[in-house]
Amino acid sequence: MCFLPGLRFLLSRGLPVGSIFDPGYMLSTIPQILPYLPLTMGLAFLSAGLGLVIGFLVALVRFFRIRILTTICRVYVSFVRGTPMLVQLFLVYYGIPILLEGLNAQWGTNFSVNGIPRLVFAAVAFSLNCGAYMSETIRSAMLSVDAGQLEACYSVNMTTRQAMIRIILPQAFTVALPPLGNSLISMVKETSLAFCISLVDMMAQAKLVGSRSFRFFEVYVVVSFMYWGICILIEQGLSFIEKRMRRYERGLVK
Protein backbone atom coordinates (compact mmCIF):
# COMPACT_ATOMS: atom_id res chain seq x y z
CA MET A 1 0.00 0.00 0.00
CA CYS A 2 2.97 2.20 0.39
CA PHE A 3 2.97 3.23 -3.26
CA LEU A 4 -0.52 4.67 -3.00
CA PRO A 5 0.50 8.23 -2.15
CA GLY A 6 2.76 8.20 -5.14
CA LEU A 7 -0.03 6.89 -7.32
CA ARG A 8 -2.31 9.67 -6.20
CA PHE A 9 0.46 12.13 -6.93
CA LEU A 10 0.81 10.77 -10.42
CA LEU A 11 -2.92 11.05 -11.00
CA SER A 12 -2.94 14.64 -9.87
CA ARG A 13 -0.20 15.34 -12.39
CA GLY A 14 -2.19 13.71 -15.11
CA LEU A 15 0.53 11.33 -16.18
CA PRO A 16 -0.43 8.10 -17.93
CA VAL A 17 -1.25 5.67 -15.18
CA GLY A 18 -2.34 2.86 -17.34
CA SER A 19 1.06 1.49 -18.35
CA ILE A 20 2.86 -0.46 -15.68
CA PHE A 21 6.16 -0.08 -17.48
CA ASP A 22 6.59 2.87 -19.80
CA PRO A 23 9.32 2.33 -22.40
CA GLY A 24 8.63 5.65 -24.07
CA TYR A 25 9.18 7.52 -20.85
CA MET A 26 12.27 5.47 -20.17
CA LEU A 27 13.85 6.45 -23.47
CA SER A 28 12.89 10.07 -22.92
CA THR A 29 15.00 10.22 -19.74
CA ILE A 30 18.18 9.20 -21.50
CA PRO A 31 19.03 12.73 -22.69
CA GLN A 32 18.55 13.99 -19.15
CA ILE A 33 20.86 11.42 -17.57
CA LEU A 34 23.46 11.08 -20.30
CA PRO A 35 25.10 14.49 -19.72
CA TYR A 36 26.23 13.24 -16.30
CA LEU A 37 28.03 10.23 -17.73
CA PRO A 38 31.28 12.15 -18.33
CA LEU A 39 31.29 13.23 -14.68
CA THR A 40 30.84 9.68 -13.45
CA MET A 41 33.51 8.37 -15.79
CA GLY A 42 35.84 11.25 -15.02
CA LEU A 43 35.47 10.70 -11.30
CA ALA A 44 36.06 6.97 -11.67
CA PHE A 45 39.12 7.31 -13.90
CA LEU A 46 40.58 10.14 -11.83
CA SER A 47 40.13 8.16 -8.62
CA ALA A 48 41.46 4.95 -10.14
CA GLY A 49 44.42 6.86 -11.60
CA LEU A 50 45.31 8.53 -8.31
CA GLY A 51 44.59 5.23 -6.58
CA LEU A 52 47.10 3.54 -8.87
CA VAL A 53 49.76 6.08 -7.90
CA ILE A 54 48.99 5.69 -4.18
CA GLY A 55 48.81 1.93 -4.50
CA PHE A 56 52.11 1.80 -6.34
CA LEU A 57 53.91 3.90 -3.74
CA VAL A 58 52.45 1.89 -0.88
CA ALA A 59 53.39 -1.35 -2.63
CA LEU A 60 56.99 -0.13 -3.07
CA VAL A 61 57.22 0.84 0.60
CA ARG A 62 55.95 -2.56 1.67
CA PHE A 63 57.97 -4.49 -0.92
CA PHE A 64 61.23 -2.94 0.25
CA ARG A 65 60.06 -2.98 3.89
CA ILE A 66 61.01 0.66 4.48
CA ARG A 67 60.90 1.23 8.23
CA ILE A 68 58.14 3.28 9.88
CA LEU A 69 56.50 3.91 6.51
CA THR A 70 55.66 0.20 6.28
CA THR A 71 53.74 0.36 9.54
CA ILE A 72 51.87 3.48 8.44
CA CYS A 73 50.99 1.84 5.14
CA ARG A 74 49.79 -1.32 6.82
CA VAL A 75 47.50 0.63 9.12
CA TYR A 76 46.18 2.62 6.16
CA VAL A 77 45.42 -0.48 4.10
CA SER A 78 43.87 -2.27 7.06
CA PHE A 79 41.66 0.72 7.94
CA VAL A 80 40.44 1.22 4.39
CA ARG A 81 39.69 -2.42 3.89
CA GLY A 82 38.01 -2.66 7.27
CA THR A 83 35.57 0.23 6.94
CA PRO A 84 32.71 0.81 4.50
CA MET A 85 33.32 3.08 1.53
CA LEU A 86 30.35 5.20 2.55
CA VAL A 87 31.86 5.86 5.98
CA GLN A 88 35.18 6.82 4.38
CA LEU A 89 33.36 9.22 2.09
CA PHE A 90 31.76 10.95 5.07
CA LEU A 91 35.05 11.00 6.98
CA VAL A 92 36.69 12.83 4.11
CA TYR A 93 33.71 15.11 3.51
CA TYR A 94 33.48 16.23 7.13
CA GLY A 95 37.12 15.71 8.00
CA ILE A 96 38.83 17.89 5.39
CA PRO A 97 37.02 21.09 6.47
CA ILE A 98 37.96 20.41 10.09
CA LEU A 99 41.54 19.73 9.04
CA LEU A 100 41.67 23.00 7.06
CA GLU A 101 40.16 25.00 9.90
CA GLY A 102 42.70 23.47 12.22
CA LEU A 103 45.48 24.45 9.83
CA ASN A 104 44.11 27.98 9.54
CA ALA A 105 43.96 28.32 13.32
CA GLN A 106 47.41 26.84 13.82
CA TRP A 107 49.40 28.46 11.06
CA GLY A 108 47.32 31.48 10.20
CA THR A 109 46.75 30.18 6.68
CA ASN A 110 43.61 31.10 4.85
CA PHE A 111 42.22 27.99 3.22
CA SER A 112 38.61 28.34 2.29
CA VAL A 113 36.47 25.25 2.70
CA ASN A 114 33.69 26.70 0.60
CA GLY A 115 35.96 26.96 -2.40
CA ILE A 116 36.38 23.22 -2.63
CA PRO A 117 34.05 21.53 -5.08
CA ARG A 118 32.31 18.39 -3.85
CA LEU A 119 33.98 16.53 -6.66
CA VAL A 120 37.31 16.97 -4.88
CA PHE A 121 36.00 15.41 -1.66
CA ALA A 122 34.66 12.47 -3.61
CA ALA A 123 37.86 12.05 -5.61
CA VAL A 124 39.99 12.14 -2.45
CA ALA A 125 37.85 9.54 -0.70
CA PHE A 126 37.65 7.24 -3.71
CA SER A 127 41.37 7.52 -4.49
CA LEU A 128 42.35 6.65 -0.93
CA ASN A 129 39.99 3.69 -1.01
CA CYS A 130 41.13 2.50 -4.41
CA GLY A 131 44.80 3.00 -3.53
CA ALA A 132 44.59 0.65 -0.57
CA TYR A 133 43.13 -2.19 -2.61
CA MET A 134 45.45 -1.58 -5.53
CA SER A 135 48.52 -1.54 -3.27
CA GLU A 136 47.80 -5.12 -2.24
CA THR A 137 47.30 -6.15 -5.85
CA ILE A 138 50.57 -4.54 -6.95
CA ARG A 139 52.54 -5.84 -3.98
CA SER A 140 51.45 -9.42 -4.54
CA ALA A 141 52.16 -9.06 -8.26
CA MET A 142 55.69 -7.87 -7.46
CA LEU A 143 56.17 -10.82 -5.13
CA SER A 144 55.02 -13.15 -7.89
CA VAL A 145 57.98 -12.22 -10.09
CA ASP A 146 60.69 -14.84 -9.58
CA ALA A 147 63.55 -13.69 -7.34
CA GLY A 148 65.91 -15.02 -10.03
CA GLN A 149 64.91 -12.12 -12.26
CA LEU A 150 66.23 -9.58 -9.75
CA GLU A 151 69.37 -11.67 -9.19
CA ALA A 152 69.98 -11.77 -12.92
CA CYS A 153 69.72 -7.97 -13.00
CA TYR A 154 72.22 -7.67 -10.17
CA SER A 155 74.56 -10.17 -11.79
CA VAL A 156 74.89 -7.94 -14.86
CA ASN A 157 75.44 -4.96 -12.56
CA MET A 158 72.09 -3.24 -12.96
CA THR A 159 70.98 -1.10 -10.04
CA THR A 160 67.84 -1.91 -8.07
CA ARG A 161 66.16 1.05 -9.71
CA GLN A 162 67.02 -0.13 -13.22
CA ALA A 163 65.99 -3.68 -12.35
CA MET A 164 62.63 -2.46 -11.07
CA ILE A 165 61.86 -0.19 -13.99
CA ARG A 166 63.14 -2.41 -16.79
CA ILE A 167 62.48 -5.96 -15.62
CA ILE A 168 60.50 -6.49 -12.42
CA LEU A 169 57.71 -3.92 -12.69
CA PRO A 170 56.79 -4.65 -16.33
CA GLN A 171 56.40 -8.33 -15.41
CA ALA A 172 54.53 -7.50 -12.21
CA PHE A 173 52.21 -5.18 -14.12
CA THR A 174 51.23 -7.98 -16.47
CA VAL A 175 50.21 -10.05 -13.47
CA ALA A 176 48.48 -7.13 -11.77
CA LEU A 177 46.50 -5.95 -14.77
CA PRO A 178 43.39 -8.16 -14.44
CA PRO A 179 42.85 -7.40 -10.73
CA LEU A 180 43.64 -3.72 -11.31
CA GLY A 181 40.98 -3.74 -14.01
CA ASN A 182 38.61 -5.20 -11.44
CA SER A 183 39.38 -2.27 -9.15
CA LEU A 184 38.69 0.19 -11.94
CA ILE A 185 35.36 -1.43 -12.69
CA SER A 186 34.45 -1.40 -8.99
CA MET A 187 35.40 2.25 -8.88
CA VAL A 188 33.03 3.12 -11.73
CA LYS A 189 30.18 1.65 -9.76
CA GLU A 190 31.21 2.98 -6.38
CA THR A 191 31.14 6.56 -7.65
CA SER A 192 27.37 6.21 -7.33
CA LEU A 193 27.88 6.77 -3.58
CA ALA A 194 28.91 10.35 -4.36
CA PHE A 195 25.21 11.22 -4.21
CA CYS A 196 25.49 10.89 -0.42
CA ILE A 197 27.60 14.05 -0.26
CA SER A 198 25.19 15.78 -2.67
CA LEU A 199 27.44 15.49 -5.69
CA VAL A 200 25.16 15.15 -8.68
CA ASP A 201 26.59 12.33 -10.73
CA MET A 202 24.82 9.93 -13.08
CA MET A 203 23.14 8.07 -10.26
CA ALA A 204 22.05 11.23 -8.47
CA GLN A 205 20.64 12.67 -11.66
CA ALA A 206 18.69 9.48 -12.28
CA LYS A 207 17.22 9.76 -8.83
CA LEU A 208 16.28 13.37 -9.45
CA VAL A 209 14.70 12.60 -12.79
CA GLY A 210 12.86 9.65 -11.31
CA SER A 211 11.51 11.66 -8.44
CA ARG A 212 9.82 14.03 -10.84
CA SER A 213 7.73 11.26 -12.35
CA PHE A 214 7.91 8.63 -9.63
CA ARG A 215 8.82 6.19 -12.36
CA PHE A 216 11.97 5.17 -10.58
CA PHE A 217 12.19 1.75 -12.16
CA GLU A 218 12.50 3.15 -15.68
CA VAL A 219 15.28 5.57 -14.80
CA TYR A 220 17.17 2.94 -12.88
CA VAL A 221 16.98 0.63 -15.87
CA VAL A 222 18.44 3.42 -17.96
CA VAL A 223 21.19 4.17 -15.47
CA SER A 224 22.03 0.48 -14.99
CA PHE A 225 22.58 0.09 -18.71
CA MET A 226 24.81 3.14 -18.72
CA TYR A 227 27.02 1.72 -15.97
CA TRP A 228 27.03 -1.64 -17.71
CA GLY A 229 27.98 0.00 -21.00
CA ILE A 230 30.94 1.79 -19.45
CA CYS A 231 32.10 -1.40 -17.80
CA ILE A 232 31.84 -3.41 -21.02
CA LEU A 233 34.01 -0.85 -22.77
CA ILE A 234 36.55 -1.01 -19.96
CA GLU A 235 36.57 -4.81 -20.09
CA GLN A 236 37.25 -4.71 -23.82
CA GLY A 237 40.03 -2.19 -23.42
CA LEU A 238 41.64 -4.19 -20.64
CA SER A 239 41.60 -7.45 -22.51
CA PHE A 240 43.22 -5.70 -25.46
CA ILE A 241 46.00 -4.30 -23.25
CA GLU A 242 46.41 -7.64 -21.52
CA LYS A 243 46.94 -9.45 -24.79
CA ARG A 244 49.62 -6.98 -25.76
CA MET A 245 51.34 -7.19 -22.38
CA ARG A 246 51.38 -10.97 -22.39
CA ARG A 247 52.99 -11.30 -25.78
CA TYR A 248 56.15 -12.74 -24.19
CA GLU A 249 54.26 -15.50 -22.37
CA ARG A 250 53.90 -18.94 -23.79
CA GLY A 251 50.39 -19.23 -25.25
CA LEU A 252 48.04 -22.04 -24.25
CA VAL A 253 46.90 -24.50 -26.85
CA LYS A 254 43.28 -23.89 -27.69
Partner: protein
Protein backbone atom coordinates in the same frame (compact mmCIF):
# COMPACT_ATOMS: atom_id res chain seq x y z
CA UNK B 1 92.59 -13.76 -10.23
CA UNK B 2 90.47 -14.79 -7.25
CA UNK B 3 91.57 -14.88 -3.64
CA UNK B 4 89.18 -15.86 -0.92
CA UNK B 5 90.11 -15.63 2.74
CA UNK B 6 88.16 -16.96 5.71
CA UNK B 7 84.74 -16.77 4.11
CA UNK B 8 81.87 -17.76 6.40
CA UNK B 9 78.13 -17.65 5.97
CA UNK B 10 75.22 -18.85 8.10
CA UNK B 11 71.51 -19.06 7.51
CA UNK B 12 70.17 -18.80 11.04
CA UNK B 13 71.73 -21.63 13.00
CA UNK B 14 72.98 -23.47 9.92
CA UNK B 15 76.54 -22.69 9.00
CA UNK B 16 76.85 -23.07 5.25
CA UNK B 17 80.41 -21.82 4.76
CA UNK B 18 82.84 -22.42 7.60
CA UNK B 19 85.95 -20.58 6.61
CA UNK B 20 86.71 -20.95 2.93
CA UNK B 21 90.18 -20.11 1.65
CA UNK B 22 90.95 -20.50 -2.00
CA UNK B 23 93.12 -19.15 -4.71
CA UNK B 24 92.32 -19.27 -8.41
CA UNK B 25 94.76 -18.29 -11.12
CA UNK B 26 93.98 -16.32 -14.23
CA UNK B 27 92.68 -18.61 -16.97
CA UNK B 28 92.03 -21.49 -14.63
CA UNK B 29 88.85 -23.53 -14.91
CA UNK B 30 87.83 -24.70 -11.48
CA UNK B 31 84.87 -26.93 -10.74
CA UNK B 32 83.23 -27.16 -7.35
CA UNK B 33 81.77 -30.55 -6.49
CA UNK B 34 80.27 -31.92 -3.31
CA UNK B 35 77.05 -33.19 -1.75
CA UNK B 36 73.99 -30.95 -1.73
CA UNK B 37 74.08 -28.55 1.16
CA UNK B 38 77.87 -28.47 1.12
CA UNK B 39 77.86 -24.77 0.25
CA UNK B 40 78.98 -24.92 -3.41
CA UNK B 41 76.28 -22.65 -4.74
CA UNK B 42 76.53 -20.29 -1.77
CA UNK B 43 80.27 -19.96 -2.28
CA UNK B 44 79.79 -19.25 -5.97
CA UNK B 45 77.08 -16.69 -5.29
CA UNK B 46 79.22 -14.78 -2.80
CA UNK B 47 81.72 -14.24 -5.63
CA UNK B 48 78.99 -12.18 -7.37
CA UNK B 49 77.74 -10.75 -4.06
CA UNK B 50 74.34 -12.35 -4.59
CA UNK B 51 74.93 -13.73 -1.08
CA UNK B 52 76.52 -11.59 1.58
CA UNK B 53 79.08 -13.54 3.55
CA UNK B 54 79.20 -12.99 7.33
CA UNK B 55 82.97 -12.72 7.49
CA UNK B 56 85.96 -12.95 5.22
CA UNK B 57 87.35 -11.23 2.20
CA UNK B 58 87.27 -11.68 -1.55
CA UNK B 59 89.85 -10.26 -3.92
CA UNK B 60 88.69 -10.60 -7.50
CA UNK B 61 90.69 -9.12 -10.36
CA UNK B 62 92.30 -6.65 -8.01
CA UNK B 63 89.08 -5.54 -6.31
CA UNK B 64 88.91 -6.27 -2.63
CA UNK B 65 85.58 -6.65 -0.90
CA UNK B 66 85.21 -7.40 2.80
CA UNK B 67 82.19 -8.85 4.51
CA UNK B 68 80.38 -6.27 6.60
CA UNK B 69 82.31 -3.38 5.07
CA UNK B 70 81.18 -3.64 1.47
CA UNK B 71 80.14 -0.33 -0.01
CA UNK B 72 77.84 -0.06 -2.97
CA UNK B 73 80.87 0.84 -5.06
CA UNK B 74 82.71 -2.31 -3.93
CA UNK B 75 79.75 -4.43 -4.99
CA UNK B 76 79.57 -2.64 -8.35
CA UNK B 77 83.30 -3.16 -8.91
CA UNK B 78 83.02 -6.84 -8.07
CA UNK B 79 80.09 -7.31 -10.41
CA UNK B 80 81.86 -5.56 -13.29
CA UNK B 81 84.55 -8.23 -13.08
CA UNK B 82 82.38 -11.30 -12.63
CA UNK B 83 79.23 -12.58 -14.31
CA UNK B 84 76.90 -15.35 -13.36
CA UNK B 85 75.20 -18.09 -15.34
CA UNK B 86 72.27 -19.50 -13.41
CA UNK B 87 70.97 -23.01 -13.00
CA UNK B 88 67.49 -21.94 -14.09
CA UNK B 89 68.82 -19.48 -16.69
CA UNK B 90 66.88 -16.54 -15.16
CA UNK B 91 66.56 -14.87 -18.54
CA UNK B 92 64.56 -11.65 -18.46
CA UNK B 93 61.16 -13.01 -19.42
CA UNK B 94 59.92 -9.76 -20.90
CA UNK B 95 62.94 -9.32 -23.15
CA UNK B 96 63.85 -11.09 -26.39
CA UNK B 97 67.04 -13.09 -26.70
CA UNK B 98 68.89 -10.12 -28.15
CA UNK B 99 67.44 -7.70 -25.59
CA UNK B 100 68.56 -10.02 -22.80
CA UNK B 101 72.11 -9.57 -24.00
CA UNK B 102 71.92 -5.85 -24.80
CA UNK B 103 70.09 -4.88 -21.59
CA UNK B 104 73.27 -4.44 -19.55
CA UNK B 105 75.14 -2.91 -22.48
CA UNK B 106 72.55 -0.17 -22.80
CA UNK B 107 71.62 0.29 -19.13
CA UNK B 108 74.95 -0.27 -17.41
CA UNK B 109 77.61 0.40 -20.03
CA UNK B 110 75.51 3.16 -21.60
CA UNK B 111 76.25 2.09 -25.16
CA UNK B 112 74.07 3.37 -27.97
CA UNK B 113 71.32 1.00 -29.03
CA UNK B 114 72.96 0.46 -32.39
CA UNK B 115 76.36 -0.33 -30.93
CA UNK B 116 74.81 -2.55 -28.26
CA UNK B 117 72.84 -4.50 -30.84
CA UNK B 118 75.96 -5.06 -32.91
CA UNK B 119 77.77 -6.42 -29.88
CA UNK B 120 74.70 -8.39 -28.87
CA UNK B 121 74.50 -10.06 -32.27
CA UNK B 122 78.18 -10.89 -32.04
CA UNK B 123 77.67 -12.54 -28.67
CA UNK B 124 74.58 -14.42 -29.86
CA UNK B 125 76.76 -15.58 -32.75
CA UNK B 126 79.29 -16.98 -30.32
CA UNK B 127 76.60 -19.15 -28.74
CA UNK B 128 75.08 -19.92 -32.16
CA UNK B 129 71.73 -18.23 -31.66
CA UNK B 130 71.65 -15.26 -34.02
CA UNK B 131 68.55 -16.62 -35.74
CA UNK B 132 66.66 -16.62 -32.41
CA UNK B 133 67.39 -12.98 -31.62
CA UNK B 134 63.74 -11.89 -31.63
CA UNK B 135 62.36 -14.83 -29.66
CA UNK B 136 61.20 -14.43 -26.07
CA UNK B 137 62.68 -16.89 -23.57
CA UNK B 138 59.38 -18.76 -23.32
CA UNK B 139 59.82 -19.75 -26.97
CA UNK B 140 63.35 -21.13 -26.55
CA UNK B 141 64.40 -24.60 -25.47
CA UNK B 142 66.28 -25.02 -22.19
CA UNK B 143 69.58 -25.38 -23.97
CA UNK B 144 68.96 -22.29 -26.04
CA UNK B 145 67.93 -20.32 -22.97
CA UNK B 146 71.10 -21.29 -21.18
CA UNK B 147 73.18 -20.29 -24.18
CA UNK B 148 71.48 -16.88 -24.18
CA UNK B 149 72.26 -16.78 -20.45
CA UNK B 150 75.92 -17.33 -21.26
CA UNK B 151 75.84 -14.62 -23.94
CA UNK B 152 74.24 -12.25 -21.44
CA UNK B 153 77.01 -12.99 -18.94
CA UNK B 154 79.67 -12.49 -21.63
CA UNK B 155 78.23 -9.06 -22.38
CA UNK B 156 79.49 -7.92 -18.98
CA UNK B 157 83.00 -8.63 -20.35
CA UNK B 158 83.88 -10.26 -17.06
CA UNK B 159 87.32 -11.37 -15.95
CA UNK B 160 85.70 -14.34 -14.23
CA UNK B 161 82.64 -16.33 -15.22
CA UNK B 162 80.63 -18.12 -12.59
CA UNK B 163 78.43 -21.06 -13.56
CA UNK B 164 75.88 -22.40 -11.08
CA UNK B 165 75.01 -25.93 -12.22
CA UNK B 166 74.50 -24.67 -15.77
CA UNK B 167 73.39 -28.01 -17.19
CA UNK B 168 71.57 -29.67 -14.31
CA UNK B 169 68.15 -28.34 -15.29
CA UNK B 170 68.58 -29.38 -18.92
CA UNK B 171 67.35 -32.40 -20.83
CA UNK B 172 70.26 -34.69 -21.70
CA UNK B 173 70.11 -33.84 -25.38
CA UNK B 174 70.65 -30.15 -24.66
CA UNK B 175 73.54 -30.59 -22.26
CA UNK B 176 75.98 -31.07 -25.15
CA UNK B 177 75.30 -27.74 -26.82
CA UNK B 178 75.78 -25.82 -23.59
CA UNK B 179 78.97 -27.67 -22.74
CA UNK B 180 80.30 -26.98 -26.23
CA UNK B 181 79.85 -23.25 -25.63
CA UNK B 182 81.49 -23.51 -22.22
CA UNK B 183 84.44 -25.44 -23.70
CA UNK B 184 84.80 -22.74 -26.31
CA UNK B 185 84.90 -19.98 -23.67
CA UNK B 186 87.37 -21.96 -21.57
CA UNK B 187 89.64 -22.42 -24.57
CA UNK B 188 89.73 -18.65 -25.03
CA UNK B 189 91.40 -18.36 -21.66
CA UNK B 190 88.47 -17.25 -19.49
CA UNK B 191 88.78 -17.82 -15.79
CA UNK B 192 85.80 -19.97 -14.84
CA UNK B 193 84.35 -21.24 -11.60
CA UNK B 194 81.78 -23.93 -12.24
CA UNK B 195 79.51 -25.77 -9.86
CA UNK B 196 78.89 -28.91 -11.84
CA UNK B 197 78.68 -32.66 -11.64
CA UNK B 198 78.86 -32.92 -15.39
CA UNK B 199 81.70 -35.37 -15.78
CA UNK B 200 82.24 -34.75 -19.48
CA UNK B 201 83.00 -31.15 -18.65
CA UNK B 202 84.97 -31.75 -15.47
CA UNK B 203 87.15 -34.35 -17.18
CA UNK B 204 87.80 -32.50 -20.41
CA UNK B 205 88.03 -28.88 -19.36
CA UNK B 206 88.57 -28.44 -15.64
CA UNK B 207 92.09 -27.67 -14.46
CA UNK B 208 91.18 -28.17 -10.85
CA UNK B 209 88.46 -29.73 -8.79
CA UNK B 210 87.50 -28.51 -5.35
CA UNK B 211 85.52 -30.94 -3.23
CA UNK B 212 83.35 -29.14 -0.68
CA UNK B 213 81.78 -30.84 2.28
CA UNK B 214 79.92 -29.22 5.12
CA UNK B 215 81.13 -25.71 4.38
CA UNK B 216 84.82 -26.53 3.97
CA UNK B 217 87.09 -27.31 1.04
CA UNK B 218 88.13 -30.88 1.70
CA UNK B 219 90.14 -31.61 -1.43
CA UNK B 220 91.82 -29.50 -4.03
CA UNK B 221 93.64 -30.85 -7.03
CA UNK B 222 93.54 -31.80 -10.70
CA UNK B 223 90.56 -33.97 -11.75
CA UNK B 224 92.57 -37.18 -12.18
CA UNK B 225 93.93 -36.91 -8.65
CA UNK B 226 90.58 -36.17 -7.03
CA UNK B 227 88.76 -38.91 -8.89
CA UNK B 228 91.41 -41.60 -8.73
CA UNK B 229 93.40 -40.90 -5.57
CA UNK B 230 91.27 -38.81 -3.21
CA UNK B 231 92.90 -38.04 0.14
CA UNK B 232 89.78 -38.39 2.23
CA UNK B 233 87.43 -41.26 2.77
CA UNK B 234 84.55 -38.74 2.63
CA UNK B 235 85.50 -37.83 -0.93
CA UNK B 236 85.66 -41.45 -2.01
CA UNK B 237 82.28 -42.10 -0.42
CA UNK B 238 80.74 -39.13 -2.24
CA UNK B 239 82.29 -40.01 -5.57
CA UNK B 240 81.11 -43.61 -5.45
CA UNK B 241 77.62 -42.58 -4.39
CA UNK B 242 77.44 -39.94 -7.08
CA UNK B 243 78.85 -42.45 -9.60
CA UNK B 244 81.62 -40.07 -10.47
CA UNK B 245 84.74 -42.09 -9.69
CA UNK B 246 86.65 -43.77 -12.45
CA UNK B 247 84.25 -42.64 -15.18
Amino acid sequence: MIEVHGLTKSYGATQVLRGIDMHIEKGEVVTLIGPSGAGKTTLLRTLNWLEKPDAGEIVLAGNTIRAGKATRQDVMNLRTQSAMVFQHYNLFRNRTALENVTESLIQVKKLSRKHAEEMGMNLLGRVGLQDKRNEYPSRLSGGQQQRVGIARALAVEPKVMLFDEPTSALDPEWVGEVLAVMNQIASEGMTMVVVSHEMRFVRSVADRVLFLDDGLILEDGPPEKIFERPLHERTRQFLSQANLSGV
